[in-house]
Subunit: 308 residues, 2 copies
């Protein structure tokens, strides 16, 4: 679904945040793990089913207060094909609960290879004339180091399916500057070149809120750059990782939003998923803890940003 | 396995090429497709099994003349979790036939997320103290736009498992220059910054041939840049896509090799997989056609490059 749908949800819930679904097995409370191991064995299948039960519990606890979830592909690939099967189920379940699903895959490839990825994640794959949708997310994250060839096949799929993409601009990690901050002869930085490229690639796909189908990933840990990118990319919806565990604050992320409080969504993963580890309990309260953490994050961000 | 193992195989076979295993269902001869559909239905499962039979046939036809295969993850994700299950089988089968397996995944993420990917693809995932290997390739491709944080977790896994990685430097696609060729203030280009970063990250991991565990992807379609990168990265093993269908020639790729003919491997995907489409037959000869195409590619490259 396009960013219009996401912005609608954000406005309706007055909550510009997305909950990461990046479950490692050690994020899952012991009682869920033990039950899954008892039924499926203490191996990959047991871990997969434990994480799925945890994901379902998180989705149930969050779906009426958080507009979107962001499963991170790494934590599913980590468990092999069984993890990928569970990712398909997780995406389907989240969508069935009305959540907007951003598959955090950071793929980047070209030509027919990029088209193959776009089919797998957005538009479906044709076998002898019939189309099969598998991962079928609403939106994916991309890495545009290879240039527009690596974005356009996804953009085509997004247009056909009324979906959208986010591509990396300035990431939240300590080493992000090694390449992204390098100054370029034409003025500005490497991430600035990427920002302009993406803003241009999206042109002509603006929805009712004025954002194109090509969003940008910009970390909360670099507030000055975030403000600069918000200005450079007026038609671009921003996905902002780095709030909470990585050090970004609500005051930092306010720069991601436009004056009306539109145009960005802030991610938290561990802060919500692992909230139960801080309540002093044994994990039976993981849903309540996640919900409380999500509400606290929403309220924290809305101290500095008012969504009209 | 490290680049030592790969270079050993290349020297033994006098063949510095890698065969892509990027099967789309329409690359598979009709008789294989029909047999798979008859057994598994004309859907994802039928397509997956048809491609697996095709992969097995290609591996059998190539394993005594080609040192390595490169399955491209996109063509497996394209088919959902069932495609990923088949990728695990394909990697296992290729390894059982003595082939070096480069999983072309171009992943790029940071911190614990990059570690999760590295576990899934290289070193295995721990569940309650026991380690499970799933995709278990010898080597993966990476995208370093996010900086050294996105390479180091894979490098750690590669060191622990005696494996290796390739990261993108200058890619073979028409749009590669949009970001990679941009001139930087410190001199040179964005891909030059990436080249220096990778050469440095690998330092201290050199094997018996002098190459680190951090290889670089550099397209055959830009021979001048290829020659420059070969000089800039004397301790870096190169993976060279773009030969054949994309327009790179044997004379172009000679620049990827050092004087002794070491230090690079050239990829061909469609040229080998789809060779049967050019014989005038109905695809029953796909193994012979692939083998002949692989031999022709080897001989073509060795006209300009002598492996000592």
């Amino acid at each position: 679904m396009s960013f219009d749908v996401l912005q609608d949800k954000i406005i309706a819930m007055k909550n510009p945040t997305v909950a990461g679904l990046d479950a490692r097995i050690d994020y899952v409370p012991a009682h869920i793990r033990q039950a899954a191991y008892a039924e499926y064995g203490k191996g990959l299948k047991g871990a997969v089913e434990a994480i799925y039960q945890f994901n379902v519990g998180l989705i149930d606890a969050l779906c009426d207060i958080v507009p979107a979830v962001k499963p991170q592909s790494a934590y599913y690939e980590n468990l092999g094909w069984q993890g990928m099967e569970m990712l398909e189920r997780t995406i389907q379940y989240a969508k069935s609960k009305g959540l907007y699903v951003i598959a955090d895959i950071k793929r980047g490839d070209i030509g027919s290879t990029a088209s193959a990825y776009a089919e797998g994640w957005l538009s479906g794959t044709a076998v002898e004339g019939e189309t099969f949708k598998t991962f079928d997310a609403d939106c994916v994250t991309l890495n545009g180091y290879m240039g527009s060839d690596s974005i356009n096949p996804f953009l085509d799929a997004a247009k056909a399916e009324d979906k959208a993409v986010f591509a990396l601009v300035k990431t939240s990690n300590p080493g992000s500057g090694e390449l992204q901050d390098v100054g370029v002869n034409r003025g500005g930085t490497v991430y600035g070149v990427m920002a302009r490229l993406l803003e241009k690639l999206g042109q002509g796909t603006e929805g009712k809120y004025g954002y194109t189908r090509v969003g940008a990933v910009t970390g909360a840990t670099h507030p000055a750059e975030l403000a600069q990118i918000r200005t450079m990319m007026p038609h671009t919806f921003l996905l902002v990782p780095g709030y909470g565990a990585q050090g970004g604050t609500a005051e930092d992320v306010k720069f991601a939003f436009q004056e009306n409080g539109h145009g960005a969504i802030v991610n938290s993963s561990r802060g919500i998923m692992c909230a139960w580890k801080k309540t002093g309990g044994d994990g039976h309260d993981f849903q309540e803890a996640a919900r409380n953490a999500a509400i606290a994050m929403r309220d924290d961000i809305c101290r500095f940003t008012t969504i009209q």
